[in-house]
C-alpha cells in the first residue's frame, strides 16, 4: 500500500473530495457542549456545500469584518497590534457577544507591531507607525523595491535575491544581510564561511531576527488561543491560507505599479520569466503553509488585474497565464482557491469562466453580481457583495433589504455565500446581524 502514489494518481475531483471529507470530519477537539459540536458540523457542511456548487440548508454568510472586533471591544488596531492581552480580550468579547454567525475570523490578520518594529519593516505603515494612530488599517507602501535591471538576479536565484537584495530594502534591520555570502558558498572545510557572521552589523541583524521570532511565537499563542476557543464554541474557520497572483506579487511589493507597467512595454520577456519563477515559488510556499490546517481553502486577494487597470488583452497576456497556473496547482492538490477580486471584474468574467466547473470560488467586491451569476453561476461558487459604504453608513433595514436582493439574484441553484464586497473595521454591529437575519429569512433552500 503506497498512500503517496495513490494521491498522485487521483484526479483533482477525487483529491478535492478527500480534502473536503477531512474538513467535514468532526475535529479532534473538546467542544464546549454537544450543541456546539452539532452547530459546528452544520456550519461546516453549509459552507462546504456552497463552495462545491451545491444547495446547503440555507445560504451561508461570511461576516465582512477585519479589525472590527478591536473597535467593538472599545479598543483600536494600534493597541491590539502591541498588546496581545487586549487582542485576545476584544476578539473574545466579539466572539461571545455577537450572537449567531456561520463562522469566525480569528485575529490572525492583526500582525504584531512589536515583531514588525523588531525588524524595522518599511513595506507597511500601521497606526502610530507612519500613519495616524487612529487609522483602522495597516497599508502597503508601494515602491520600487526591485530595480528594472534586477530581473536576471531574481530569475537566476530568487533565494539569493531575496536574502541579499530584497530583504535589506524592506527591513531596516536586515540592511547588513547584504554582507552575508550566498549559502551556496558554504562547502568543504568551511574555513572562511562564517567570517561575515562576526561583523557587528550582521550580528545585530541576526539578533533582530531572533527577537522577531520570539515576538511572533508570543503573538501566535494569543491568536491560537482565540481561534481554538471559537472552534470549541462551534464556529469554523474558513481560510486555510493566503496566496497571490504572480503579477500582483511583482506589481505590489517588488516593482511597484509604475515599474511593472513600464516593464509591460520595455521588458515583457523578463516580466514573463519572473512571473513564471514567482508562480512556482508561490505554489510551493502556499502549499507548505496550508499544511495540516485541515481547511481546504486558500484565499487569494487580487489587485492589478481588475477592470480599468489593464485592457482585456493585457490581462490575457500578462495577468491570467501565471495566475491560472497558480490556481490550477492548488486545484490539482484538492484545494479550493477563493479568488477575491478587489474593485470590479466585469470585463474578466468570460476569460475566468474557462476554469473547470467547481474548481474555484469567486469573491467579488464591486462586480455586477447578476452578470456574474449569469456567466459563472453554474461554474463557480460566488461570494459577495454588500458594499462597505452601506455596512458603515446604512441602517440594519437597508442592509437586510440589500442582502435580500443579492440572495434573490445569486442563491438560485446553490453555490452562493453572502458577504461584504470588502471588509469593515468599524460600524454598527446590528448591520452585521442584519446579514445573518437575511440569510435565515430569505436564504433557506
Amino acid at each position: 500500500m503506497n498512500v503517496e502514489k495513490k494521491w498522485s494518481e487521483m484526479t483533482w475531483e477525487e483529491k478535492r473530495r478527500e480534502k473536503f471529507n477531512k474538513w467535514l470530519t468532526v475535529p479532534d477537539i473538546k467542544f464546549v457542549s454537544p450543541e456546539a459540536e452539532k452547530l459546528y458540523m452544520e456550519r461546516v457542511t453549509r459552507f462546504a456545500r456552497a463552495f462545491l456548487l451545491e444547495k446547503p440548508d440555507r445560504v451561508p454568510c461570511i461576516l465582512p469584518v477585519s479589525n472590527f472586533a478591536a473597535y467593538y471591544g472599545s479598543s483600536d488596531l494600534r493597541t491590539v497590534m502591541y498588546d496581545y492581552d487586549e487582542l485576545k480580550r476584544t476578539w473574545r468579547k466579539f466572539l461571545h457577544e455577537f450572537g449567531d454567525s456561520d463562522m469566525f475570523f480569528g485575529p490572525g490578520m492583526v500582525p504584531s507591531g512589536k515583531m514588525l518594529e523588531a525588524v524595522d519593516y518599511k513595506l507597511y505603515k500601521w497606526p502610530g507607525h507612519g500613519i495616524s494612530g487612529d487609522t483602522t488599517s495597516y497599508q502597503c507602501v508601494e515602491g520600487e523595491y526591485m530595480k528594472a535591471n534586477e530581473y536576471d538576479a531574481l530569475i537566476k536565484d530568487p533565494s539569493n535575491f531575496w536574502l541579499r537584495t530584497y530583504l535589506p530594502r524592506v527591513f531596516g534591520a536586515f540592511e547588513a544581510l547584504r554582507n552575508i555570502p550566498p549559502f551556496t558558498t558554504i562547502e568543504e572545510i568551511a574555513i572562511m564561511s562564517f567570517v561575515a557572521y562576526g561583523r557587528p552589523d550582521v550580528r545585530a541583524a541576526l539578533e533582530a531576527l531572533l527577537e522577531a521570532g520570539k515576538e511572533s511565537v508570543k503573538w501566535m499563542m494569543a491568536v491560537m488561543e482565540v481561534s481554538q476557543e471559537a472552534t470549541r464554541m462551534g464556529f469554523p474557520a474558513i481560510m486555510g491560507g493566503l496566496s497571490k497572483a504572480p503579477f500582483d506579487t511583482l506589481g505590489d511589493t517588488l516593482r511597484g505599479t509604475q515599474g511593472v507597467m513600464m516593464d509591460m512595454f520595455q521588458r515583457p520577456e523578463k516580466l514573463h520569466q519572473a512571473m513564471e519563477k514567482i508562480a512556482s515559488l508561490t505554489i510551493d510556499s502556499t502549499l507548505a503553509s496550508i499544511g495540516d490546517s485541515g481547511v481546504p481553502l486558500i484565499m487569494m486577494p487580487l489587485h492589478k488585474g481588475a477592470d480599468g487597470f489593464m485592457s482585456t488583452k493585457q490581462y490575457e497576456t500578462f495577468y491570467w497565464p501565471t495566475f491560472k497556473k497558480v490556481i490550477m496547482a492548488f486545484v490539482n492538490e484538492g484545494i479550493m482557491p477563493v479568488l477575491f477580486a478587489e474593485g470590479s471584474y466585469n470585463t474578466r468574467l468570460d476569460i475566468i469562466s474557462e476554469l473547470p466547473r467547481g474548481s474555484v470560488t469567486w469573491w467579488f467586491d464591486q462586480t455586477d453580481m447578476a452578470k456574474a451569476k449569469k456567466i459563472l453561476g453554474d461554474k463557480a461558487c460566488l461570494v459577495g457583495n454588500v458594499p462597505t459604504s452601506l455596512l458603515m453608513t446604512g441602517t440594519p433595514q437597508e442592509v437586510k433589504e440589500h442582502c435580500r436582493n443579492l440572495i434573490e439574484i445569486c442563491a438560485p441553484g446553490g453555490g452562493y455565500i453572502l458577504s461584504g464586497g470588502a471588509n469593515i473595521d468599524k460600524g454598527d454591529p446590528d448591520n452585521l446581524r442584519a446579514m445573518m437575519e437575511a440569510v435565515k429569512e430569505y436564504g433557506v433552500y
Binding site: K125, T257, M310, S311, Q314, T388, S389, M392
Partner: protein, 210 residues
C-alpha cells in the same frame, strides 16, 4: 520621419518620439512648440484612456515618455510660458490613507484636459487641504481614498472646509476604492466620480467649460 510628434507620442512610439525631438532641437525648432506638441499628444492619450482603448499601463508609459521629452527640451528653454488653464483643482488622498494609483490617474486626466492641478499626495491632513485651497484659490477640491477609514477622513475634511468658511465657494468631489454615492452623502461632498473621466466631466461642469 514617420509621423508628427503628437501622433508618435499618442501611439507610444518611444524611440521615434525621442529621435524626432532630438532632430527638432538640433534644427533649432522653438522648444515651446515642441512642448505644445507633446501636450497635444498627451491629450490624445487621455481621449484614448477615456474611450477604454488605453488603460493604466499606457498612461504610465506615456507619462514617462513625456518626462523624457521635457527633460530634453528644458535646457533649450529661454522663457517659461504659462499655458492657459481651464481652472484650478486641488486633489489629494485623505488622512490615514496612503494609496495613490487612482489619485494619479485623476491628476493625469485633469492635467491633459487643461486643468491646473495641485496634487497634495497621500495621507493629507485636512488643514493642508484648506491651506491649499486658500493658497491656490481653486474652486474645486477632489478627495481620494481607497479604504473604509477614508469615509471619516473625508467627512472631517469637508467639515474643515466648512469651518474655514469657504464651503459655499468650493465644489467637492470624491472617488476611489470603496467610495460611492452613499459615501458622498455621508461625507457631505457635492459629487462622487466613478472614474477619472467623471472627475474631468465634473470639473468642466463646475467651471462652466463646455
Amino acid at each position: 520621419m514617420s509621423g508628427d510628434l503628437p501622433t508618435l507620442l499618442a501611439d507610444l512610439k518611444d524611440k521615434e518620439v525621442l529621435e524626432l525631438v532630438k532632430k527638432k532641437l538640433d534644427s533649432g525648432e522653438d522648444p515651446m512648440k515642441i512642448l505644445e506638441e507633446g501636450r497635444k499628444g498627451m491629450e490624445v492619450v487621455g481621449q484614448r484612456f477615456a474611450s477604454s482603448e488605453y488603460f493604466l499601463p499606457e498612461l504610465v508609459f506615456s507619462g514617462e515618455l513625456l518626462k523624457q521629452v521635457t527633460d530634453m527640451v528644458k535646457p533649450h528653454l529661454t522663457e517659461t510660458a504659462e499655458t492657459k488653464k481651464l481652472g484650478k483643482v486641488v486633489i489629494g488622498t485623505v488622512a490615514g490613507d496612503i494609496h495613490d494609483i487612482g489619485l494619479n490617474i485623476v491628476d493625469f486626466m485633469l492635467d491633459v484636459n487643461g486643468f491646473a492641478v495641485t496634487n497634495l499626495g497621500v495621507d493629507v491632513p485636512k488643514e493642508k487641504f484648506v491651506q491649499a485651497l486658500n493658497d491656490t484659490g481653486a474652486p474645486i477640491l477632489g478627495l481620494s481614498g481607497f479604504l473604509t477609514p477614508a469615509f471619516d477622513a473625508m467627512k472631517e475634511t469637508v467639515a474643515a472646509v466648512e469651518a474655514a468658511g469657504v464651503r459655499d465657494k468650493i465644489k467637492i468631489m470624491i472617488g476611489g476604492g470603496q467610495m460611492n454615492d452613499e459615501v458622498k452623502k455621508y461625507v457631505k461632498a457635492d459629487a462622487y466620480g466613478k472614474n477619472a473621466m467623471e472627475a474631468v466631466a465634473l470639473a468642466k461642469e463646475w467651471t462652466g467649460v463646455k
